[in-house]
Subunit: 353 residues, 2 copies
């Protein structure tokens, strides 16, 4: 007897990037931050007592949300919802604003999780191809649906749509526009002002990248209070544990630490991009903490991915349309990027030069 | 313009028991454990390093699940899924096994969250009243639906259905039977053997009660691997943060600590029940860490609830059918229960004696 849902029959679930825990592995495959989180975070965690573990946490994460509201220029915590990673908020946004069966829109390529979340929710996802410059195509502005996911900067391209294009999208799209700013702290600008300007704009942030807290599962969404109120209905009663709330608050209170790490990543990104271009890769300007490196030479991108893996260097390879000739490389420390380049030189030899 | 779902219009979301954080408050309203978690838990949390925070956690919580499998007599971790509190698993179980529109069955009264989760999912919930002894009525065994929630021991009654009744339900019910064992560690027996015996049985456990870890949000579900595989498709990619996984594992490895706390709570439960009966309350035998105390005297239960609150003693009052003449009282420490009894004596005077 089968108790499962027909809907799930062909869903495989999201396959995360590999997490090999050999200490000698160089992990440039899951866009983690190579630098540690603020020391205030571990301090805050270690300061927690038995009582914080024993009792239910604040169900609405008020102290943390208030700190985010202040930092992000919102009037109050009513503009913010906190989640168990941005993952939870991405899943919630469908359940909060989309009826199963309603169409969801996204660019192609983009973050591959959206497709899985839509399949789980029973909503058809309409992809609209980015143009040849990896920018929003005109079709985006006539798209219709209940909700639109826009990753800015985009993953896995690293390219950020101009703010003016996002404005045009918020005006033209009849439903909710989720601006997924997972990587925005690494970009030149962001859309934090959009929720105040557009009633349908929801900006999402993760603490996994710029704040170096992937292990803690912390994300926030910023939107008008009317939308946040709907979100609060659908979230789990106590979705953020006491430790996450304390960690999120401490990291927000030591914002300079994150900014310094971001500056280091941006400097290495510039250097790594130049070195990859020098080796014959085609690498769009990235506003993220990763680079999408296109490769037309020999061995093919998949071969490079596998050869790097044998050397203990993990990058990401996507077996998907428009991405089969590319590697997504997380910007690590300078030393990690040097090791990557040395590996590449050994693998591609003179092929690309 | 309204971007919300019609479905959510009348949903209010779950209202958790009050969390007043005044240190002098006696909290007997949310069924927290009055005793601290194992010292090994804080040790494990404090031993975590920056690297555990910086990197993504194990997406499938394997070490923790393996420890649970061993403790709960399962063949392997394939029989277990870990969640961000049992809350996440209760929400997931609907999304994994119930199509919106399909009927869900539960006893009445029971844990009030089910009704909200069903409303959010768009599934009608059919309540079947418990009989006058707070046991399963004959109607339960002819009920039809995609999924049935059975809280055992039940909340807020504290009464556990005999195992034979749960067996009969698993055999008669055509869909999934969720046996919510949030409080089972405080009971004389449990249904941990049911998943191996019944293909439709899913047993759920929380670490919020017996393990004193409400602040950490840890829960597990135990079921046949075919069901667990479906669950793994619908959960968030990294649903348990690194700290929760470490805390869950440490608490499971120091199981004796939990057992000692459970023994203390059970002893106090016996004493408190006798004291309440002596004062005129009607209190069914509880297998949980709370007592449902029915009261026919003056002032009415709601008045007692409010008067206790004024004295800084919180208990739970439900403004719901069959519960309006009752208080749900968490079994605290002996001292907390003494304070409660002193408060009650002042409020009810000789009324009930």
């Amino acid at each position: 007897m089968n108790y499962g849902r027909e809907l799930l029959k062909d869903v495989e679930g999201y396959v995360p990037g590999e997490q090999l825990n050999r200490p000698d592995i160089i992990k440039l495959n899951t866009n983690e931050n190579p630098y540690p989180p603020s020391p205030k975070v571990l301090e805050a965690i270690r300061a927690l007592t038995d009582d914080a573990l024993r009792k239910y946490p604040d169900p609405v994460s008020l102290a943390f949300r208030s700190a985010c509201a202040e930092r992000y220029g919102c009037e109050s915590a009513d503009w913010i919802i906190a989640g168990n990673g941005m993952d939870e908020l991405l899943s919630l946004v469908l359940r909060t604003f989309v009826d199963p069966g309603d169409t969801v829109v996204a660019t192609y390529p983009t973050y591959s999780l959206y497709e899985i979340l839509c399949a789980l929710h029973g909503s058809p996802l309409e992809y609209i191809d980015l143009d040849d410059d990896l920018q929003l195509a005109e079709d985006m502005y006539v798209a219709r649906g209940r909700l639109c996911f826009l990753t800015r900067p985009n993953a896995p391209t690293g390219v950020a749509a101009p703010r003016a294009d996002v404005e045009r999208l918020c005006e033209s799209f009849p439903g909710i526009v989720v601006i997924d700013e997972a990587y925005a702290d690494f970009a030149d600008d962001n859309c934090l002002d959009f929720p105040a300007r557009f009633p349908n704009a929801i900006v999402m942030r993760t603490f996994s990248k710029s704040f170096s807290l992937a292990g803690m599962r912390i994300g926030v969404a910023i939107a008008r209070p009317a939308l946040i109120r709907e979100f609060l209905k659908t979230k789990d009663s106590y979705n953020m544990d006491a430790v996450s709330q304390a960690a999120g608050l401490a990291s927000m209170q030591d914002y300079d630490w994150q900014q310094e790490n971001v500056a280091k990543v941006r400097a290495t990104r510039t250097r790594l991009r130049a070195a990859l271009i020098e080796r014959g890769f085609d690498v769009p300007v990235s506003q993220s903490n990763f680079l999408l490196a296109h490769w037309a030479g020999e061995p093919a991108a998949k071969g490079i991915f596998e050869a790097l893996r044998e050397r203990g260097i993990l990058v990401r390879y996507f077996n998907a349309r428009r991405l089969t000739n590319a590697l997504r490389i997380t910007v690590g420390t300078d030393a990690e990027c040097d090791a990557l380049l040395t590996g590449l030189d050994a693998i591609i030899g003179d092929a690309g030069a």
